[in-house]
């Protein structure tokens, strides 16, 4: 059940795994959202992006050197 005060999901954060080389910038820029596994590849803790976080997430997407991190609108 969703709480009535829940913020609407604006977009979904995904990784194109064929592009990702595990540079780790997403982890540095979004430490609460993205962890790293033992090989350095990102682990997405949550993929739903609300409007309040959008700017910050877009910054990380733009910074990804492999163009692997991407946002899709719901």
């Amino acid at each position: 059940m969703t709480a009535p005060s829940a913020k609407p999901d604006l977009a979904t954060l995904s990784i194109d795994w064929t592009r990702c080389d595990g540079h780790g910038l997403c982890h540095v820029l979004l430490p609460e959202r993205v962890g790293r596994d033992e090989w350095g590849f990102p682990v997405l803790h949550h993929t739903a992006v609300h409007s309040v976080d959008e700017l910050e997430v877009r910054g990380a997407v733009a910074a990804c050197p492999a163009l692997a991190l991407y946002l899709t609108r719901n």
Binding site: C20, W39, G40
Partner: protein
């Protein structure tokens, strides 16, 4: 319940094909190695003309799920095609699951039935081209000859695409047909978005039967939610390996008895190497729902028997190493995670305490790839470790179980 075992007297090609109950897809194959156009007509009768509305109505009434492994309903695929934008019908005959033979049997022995289904879909959605994608040149030759025998066969192209486990995934097949590498794309866009209707060989054959007999007769066998028959490939420790057509919902015990399975086996692997290990409970119903209720997945219908003569943990380790090698190595978690997982399972088989790291690595790779290969490998290993926990203890206590690894689970594709 009357169980008829219809087995051909001789063993044609590289496999046997038989049925429990009366055969539908395999009809007419008891006396013929390959049904030519005339034999096909005699066994199945003419294919009625059907527009898209009728095809969809029949599919909805029978709930025909795709037979390539994922079980996606064919009707949903047809509906998700862009309006007026259907380009191509692609018959996925790559059958990359090492133990599976059912699609090869259909294409080599009753190719006209598969082509009927593909042509019916092409007519219904207005697609101009039909491409049959296979891995083996030998299969391609049979299908080309079959297309040459029919007046409407000129639109059918047959293409041999590169082999490999992940090369059989629908997006990898389309990519290979379009001149690219035979590996899945990075973004999970379904082929229908580009107007390509891709479905498994057996799905087209099932449709060809459904269009002939209608949803009412189609549902005379099978279960209420999953009417009709399905093809299995039965192997491992059985005396009669081969492709078996069964009514959906047939109990596992009946199939194992009919296939001459070793008595009291340790396990069955159902659904192939993206499927799972199950205790050989005779009452498990072989339908998508039945196998799911038992904690597994029917997948593309592979059933492999692991008897007591072989080291089951060793079998698990051998297949896990193969799965790691079959990674396309284009996604980091799969490229590094599957070899780590394989090393864990190999260590376990040698008596090292590696259950926790193996389960951790399985969890770590799950869902983190361009295709479902890491997910499937994780499912295979996790289910194996759960089922074989007593074996694991035994290996820990004494460094092994003293049994050789007999290779009951085949790896590497045969043509």
């Amino acid at each position: 319940m009357t169980t008829l075992l219809n087995r051909p007297a001789k063993t044609p090609l590289d496999t046997t094909a038989w049925s429990i109950g009366s055969p539908r897809l395999l009809a007419g194959l008891a006396d013929a190695e390959t049904l030519d156009a005339r034999g096909h007509h005699a066994a199945h009768g003419p294919l009625p003309i059907a527009d898209l509305d009728r095809v969809l109505a029949y599919l909805d009434a029978s709930g025909l799920a795709g037979r390539g492994g994922a079980g996606f309903p064919l009707a949903a695929k047809l509906r998700s095609l862009p309006r007026g934008g259907a380009r191509r019908v692609i018959v996925n005959g790559t059958e990359s699951e090492p133990a599976s033979r059912k699609d090869r049997v259909l294409l080599r022995r009753t190719p006209q039935l598969v082509l009927d289904g593909a042509l019916a879909v092409a007519a219904a959605i207005g697609a101009r081209d039909i491409t049959v994608a296979v891995h083996a040149e030998r299969t391609a030759q049979v299908v080309r000859a079959a297309a040459g025998q029919r007046s409407d066969g000129r639109r059918i192209g047959v293409r041999v695409v590169p082999g490999g486990f992940v090369a059989g995934e629908a997006r990898a097949v389309v990519r290979a047909l379009n001149g690219g590498p035979a590996i899945p794309t990075g973004r999970r866009t379904p082929p229908t978005a580009d107007g390509d209707l891709v479905a498994n060989v057996e799905t087209f054959a099932q449709l060809a039967v459904l269009l002939r007999i209608g949803p009412h007769r189609f549902a005379e066998t099978g279960t209420v939610t999953e009417p009709g028959t399905t093809l299995l490939t039965v192997g491992g420790a059985v005396s009669r390996p081969g492709v078996v057509e069964i009514p959906l919902g047939t109990p596992l015990g009946i199939v194992l008895a009919a296939a001459g399975a070793a008595p009291d086996p340790q396990a069955v692997v159902v659904g192939g190497y993206h499927g799972g290990w199950l205790a050989p409970i005779p009452q498990i119903r072989l339908s998508r729902h039945g196998v799911a209720s038992a904690g597994g997945t029917l997948g593309a219908g592979v059933v492999l028997v692991v008897d007591n003569a072989t080291c089951a943990l060793g079998e698990l380790a051998r297949v896990t190493a193969w799965l790691a090698a079959e990674s396309a190595k284009q996604c980091g978690p799969c490229r590094f995670g599957l070899p780590a997982l394989a090393a864990d399972v190999a260590a376990l088989a040698c008596g090292h305490p590696a259950v926790a790291p193996a389960l951790d690595h399985a969890r770590a790779v799950n869902g983190r790839g361009a295709c479902a290969h890491p997910d499937g490998a994780a499912r295979f290993v996790t289910s194996g470790l759960h089922l074989l926990h007593e074996e694991t203890d035994r290996h820990l206590a004494s460094g092994g179980c003293g049994r050789p690894v007999l290779g009951r689970l085949p790896i590497g594709a045969a043509s």
